[in-house]
């Protein structure tokens, strides 16, 4: 059985991110048609654009405490500047290690339950 993506509107089973591109050239994530944050164009001026999931780490942190008891600490959060432009904040595969800013990162699809998978970021191979 194919595993279920936790957030299928945001990424594909191969770890590509579902972003968008405005007619003005602004690339954004995730895809939406409400309107462009740079120029205000909307609707069909905003077209889907698949983002590779490769980028550069801006910062990371290991979280020791979280209000939601279902989310067990520690876990690690990273801020990644994608090669196409958008900056995303994401969970990192390695839960208890800070990574040096500037490190190359890549998206990974990882199992998070019996039949569910989610997108995380890890060091590039």
């Amino acid at each position: 059985m194919e595993p279920t993506l936790l957030k299928p509107t945001l990424y594909t089973a191969t770890g590509a991110l579902l972003g968008g591109r405005c007619a003005c050239g602004h690339v954004f994530f995730p895809m939406q048609t409400y309107g462009c944050e740079v120029c205000g164009r909307h609707g069909a001026d905003l077209q889907p654009m698949t983002l590779t999931g490769c980028g550069r780490l801006l910062s990371s942190t290991v979280v020791h405490l979280h209000a939601d008891k279902a989310r067990t600490a520690p876990f690690a959060i990273g801020k990644v500047a994608l090669d196409e432009g958008p900056v995303v904040r994401t969970l990192l595969v390695d839960p208890d290690r800070e990574i040096a800013p500037g490190t190359r990162m890549v998206s990974r699809i990882v199992p998070i339950g019996d039949s569910t998978v989610d997108l995380r970021f890890a060091l590039e191979d």
């Binding site: 957030k7 509107t9 945001l10 990424y11 602004h26 995730p30 939406q32 409400y34 944050e37 740079v38 801006l58 910062s59 990371s60 942190t61 290991v62 979280v63 020791h64 405490l65 979280h66 209000a67 939601d68 989310r71 876990f75 959060i77 801020k79 500047a81 432009g85 958008p86 900056v87 995303v88 904040r89 994401t90 969970l91 800070e98 040096a100 800013p101 997108l119």
Partner: protein, 380 residues
């Protein structure tokens, strides 16, 4: 061309008051709010019926909490507006009260911030995120701490010194939620929340109220108020986030843009600032903001901190109230309370917290969104 506050008629803070910021309690928000307002009225030597309009900064009390509170001062029929702008709710209420008086619509207006610690509810925009459900405010600022320490080769211990200073200031403030001096070891040794951030480097959860009464020169004269204790509001500036290049943190850039406008509007250079009350919900923020306000080049904030330049009695007293870390951050009250602290300092009435010779003060607040508000106050 659009005008600034300084192009309108002069406005002054004539009265300030608080209900102490404190841990969540059974005390109703009505008691918190009217306590602060009565203190501000007494401070201004003003009767409630002379107040012509009221702006209530609050984020966590739900719909229209204002009149059920204000009626206990006497239901005079004055216009009431509620201002919700996240952490900047109180700063925004103050700005609106200033604009009301500066425009000539009122001679005397009230800005009051009041909140209880209730859960935050934000409607979904329909645009999902990868991991926002795993990112608390402290996680955002832990990421910034990590970035700042790497970029400027600064140790986490040195960043934590912001908390030592602000706890020291808060220990002298009867309205502060935390009134205890803390050593660097205590600050670093506390419970870790994310990365190097410890509980004593984060603002506490709390409740409280703060009030400020704003008046025109006509109002001061007509009501016989003490002009000698009035403090002039020389600028009011507000901005919201734009799209910045990857790697430029919006917190810092937004503050930089707003500070440049505020200082230009008042024709003041950063060197002239004697007091800054700023949004230090987390230690690294204070360094980011003083650098972007222009006290020193980027990455040099720790030097100023370590040489005592940011202490009361130093070059520029930053967060003499104790800031959000020690005085607390009950949301609605916080921005109004900053105005109260600066007013008290510029009047020379801050007692053990007095910064000698204080003449010019800057209040800085950011809020989720992100938005940024600044007010410059000066002794006439």
């Amino acid at each position: 061309m659009a005008r600034t506050l300084k192009d309108l008629r002069p406005v002054y803070v004539v009265g300030v008051g608080w209900h102490r910021y404190q841990n969540p309690s059974d005390i109703s928000y009505v008691t918190l709010g009217v306590t602060a307002i009565r203190e501000a009225l007494a401070d201004a030597r003003l009767e409630w019926p002379s107040v012509e309009s009221a702006y209530i900064g609050t984020a966590l009390l739900g719909m229209a909490p204002g009149r059920p509170m204000l009626r206990h001062l006497g239901a005079t029929g004055l216009p009431i507006s509620h201002i919700e702008n996240a952490s900047a709710s109180g700063s925004t209420a103050f700005r609106q009260a200033c604009i009301e008086v500066a425009s000539g619509l009122s001679d005397v207006s009230l800005a009051v911030g009041v909140d209880k610690r209730n859960p935050v509810r934000r409607e979904s925009t329909g645009v999902d995120h990868l991991a926002e459900d795993a990112i608390a405010q402290f996680t955002h600022f832990s990421l910034l701490t990590n970035e700042y320490a790497h970029r400027h080769k600064v140790s986490f211990e040195d960043i934590a010194r912001v908390a030592v200073k602000n706890h020291r200031n808060g220990a002298k403030n009867k309205n502060a939620q935390r009134q205890r001096e803390r050593s660097l070891e205590e600050v670093l040794g506390g419970k870790k929340v994310a990365g190097s951030l410890t509980a004593l480097q984060c603002t506490p959860i709390g409740e409280g109220a703060a009030a400020a009464i704003i008046a025109s020169e006509d109002g001061i004269r007509r009501l016989g108020l003490d002009g000698g204790r009035a403090v002039r509001v020389v600028s009011s500036t507000a901005r919201s986030e734009r799209v910045y290049d990857a790697g430029l943190g919006f917190d810092a850039v937004l503050t930089k843009e707003t500070a440049a406008l505020a200082l230009a509007e008042a024709q003041i250079s950063p060197k002239e600032l004697d007091i800054i009350e700023l949004h230090d919900a987390f230690t690294v923020e204070e360094l980011h903001y003083i650098e972007n306000i222009g006290l020193c080049p980027e990455g040099h904030g720790v030097h100023l901190l370590k040489e005592g330049a940011l202490d009361i009695g130093g070059r520029c007293a930053v967060n003499p109230s104790g800031g959000l870390i020690a005085m607390g951050h009950p949301i609605g009250p916080t921005g109004v309370g900053q105005i109260g602290e600066i007013t008290t300092q510029l009047r020379g009435e801050a007692g053990a917290r007095q910064h000698p010779g204080a003449r010019t003060g800057l209040a800085h607040m950011v809020g989720v969104g992100a938005v940024c508000y600044m007010h410059l106050l000066q002794k006439p």
